[in-house]
């Protein structure tokens, strides 16, 4: 290689570095943007009145989003209750039982599930889940229950693929050792493989929660968006994300700023979840 080729190498490296840094730049810009729009209201009316305020009437100077924070966590938990057992079963089957052919079929179909736009999930929820709940269980059908079901299905691919990866990374010596001791296949899975992959599985749950907290379109369509903290599984509710998307169109002044403040709270929650997930994955690597 002559000298000129080395010079070109250097250019390629620089260009790629710039592009790599640009993703960081976007993150930074988004942060700055949300904070500059959202923080002023926290100063004006106080963090307590927003985060712990019970009343949301932004055109009448009440900016409380506490009910939405609680509702966001409720549906997220609901989604986890629906999605986590299914996803874990799916991941366990894929990594421990499935033959090559089934794996070849199941994995791509899960990825396809992840690729379906959320408005489609929402639409199916409105057309099928909501009327079924209304007819058989009562209420309007737009409820925590319907939202949890829809979100539970939506977070399946996230949880499955990350749990699957962590199950696959359990060394096969663990399984062989357990089987050699006379344990059955299920005993091996439940007492050796799953505990060994525990931190990765927990991380997958947390990331699934992050996905559920952030979901907007499908939630607006099936949640009913009422402002009250739901007291039954059949009550409608409004999450942080749907609050922003519902009202942004006509919001001006402090109303608009209040929606950005909602965004700040959402950002903090999602960052928290990601930090916890990363922490768990790191803890596992350290071990």
């Amino acid at each position: 290689m002559n000298r000129e080729d080395f010079d070109k190498e250097w250019i390629v490296r620089l260009v790629l570095l710039l592009f790599a840094l640009s993703s960081l730049l976007f993150l930074f810009i988004i942060f700055i943007f949300i904070l500059t729009e959202g923080l002023p209201l926290f100063y004006k009316v106080g963090v307590r009145n927003i985060v712990l305020g019970m009343k949301w009437a932004p055109t009448k100077a009440s900016f409380g989003i506490f009910p939405m924070i609680i509702s966001s966590f409720m549906v997220t938990f609901g989604a986890l209750v629906v999605g986590a057992p299914l996803a874990l079963a799916c991941a366990t089957y894929l990594s421990e039982y499935a033959g090559k052919k089934t794996k070849l079929f199941l994995k791509p179909s899960l990825e396809l599930l992840a690729g379906i736009p959320s408005v489609v999930y929402g639409f199916l929820g409105v057309v099928y889940i909501v009327p079924i709940i209304r007819e058989h269980l009562g209420g309007a059908g737009f409820s925590i229950l319907s939202t949890s079901l829809v979100l539970g299905i939506m977070i399946l691919p996230t949880i499955t693929s990350i749990s699957f990866d962590s199950l696959m990374s359990v060394p096969s010596a663990f399984r062989e050792g357990s089987l050699a001791m006379g344990a059955t296949k299920w005993q091996t899975i439940s007492r050796v493989v799953l505990p060994a992959a525990r931190s990765g599985i927990l991380a997958s749950f947390i990331l699934g929660m992050g996905r559920a907290v952030g979901e907007t379109m499908a939630v607006i369509m099936v949640a009913g968006n009422a402002l009250k903290i739901p007291t039954s599984l059949l009550d409608p509710l409004r999450t942080l994300t749907s609050n922003i998307a519902l009202e942004l169109a006509y919001a001006t002044g402090d109303h608009r700023r209040a929606l950005f403040s909602t965004g700040v709270v959402l950002l903090v929650i999602i960052m928290g979840l990601n930090l916890i997930a990363n922490f768990w994955v790191k803890a596992k690597v350290a071990k």
């Binding site: 949301w56 402002l227 006509y250 109303h255």
Partner: protein, 229 residues
Amino acid sequence: MPFSEKLAEHFRIERPRIVVDVQGGGSSAGIQACINKTVDIGMSSRELKGDEHILRQTVICHDGIALVVHPRNPTKDISFEKIRDIYSGRIRNWKELGWIDRNIDCVTREEGSGTRGAFEELVMGKSAIHDSIMVQDSNGSVKEVVATDPYAIGYISLGVVDSKVRALSVGGIAPTTENILAKKYRIVRPFLYLTSGEPGRNAKLFIDFVLSNEGQGILKKEGLIPVNE
């Protein structure tokens, strides 16, 4: 806003030299922009309040707001008081309106919407819309909820009402164009064009076009109530 876009399209055919740039954002934004003189014409789908009255207003048409229920719902008529009671959470069961023992699935619009603003002002008065009431973010999705849920009630722009839902008469008066023109049906809001002081030459041409037979015809086709009848 969608109506003004349509009007602007037709206006462009007549006066290709004048560019009409239509922007949405809600009534308060339209009024504010007009006060700040950043626009030639401000649009509002609610009446002016307080010191907003410094603006010069032209009513371009009226829009009725209809209370709608599922076609299977036998309720035909509802009083102002009952609507207030439902939306403020005091009445929660259809039994209290003489139908079956079933919760009312009540739907409202999101905070900031002009339709909600008009509904609050014209119907709710001092009572506030209760927190347990479901919220949808457009006329279309309110209609969709009411069309699929036999126990739902909602309010939408009269121009959007079709056979999927049934409009209730309010206090014995049906929400028809005749009743609105005769000022009998009272849940009606004006669509306003606002200018600060005398409109400029081009702005005046556009307002005149909107008030002309052609402009009013376009609005009528959209289900709105023209002002020149």
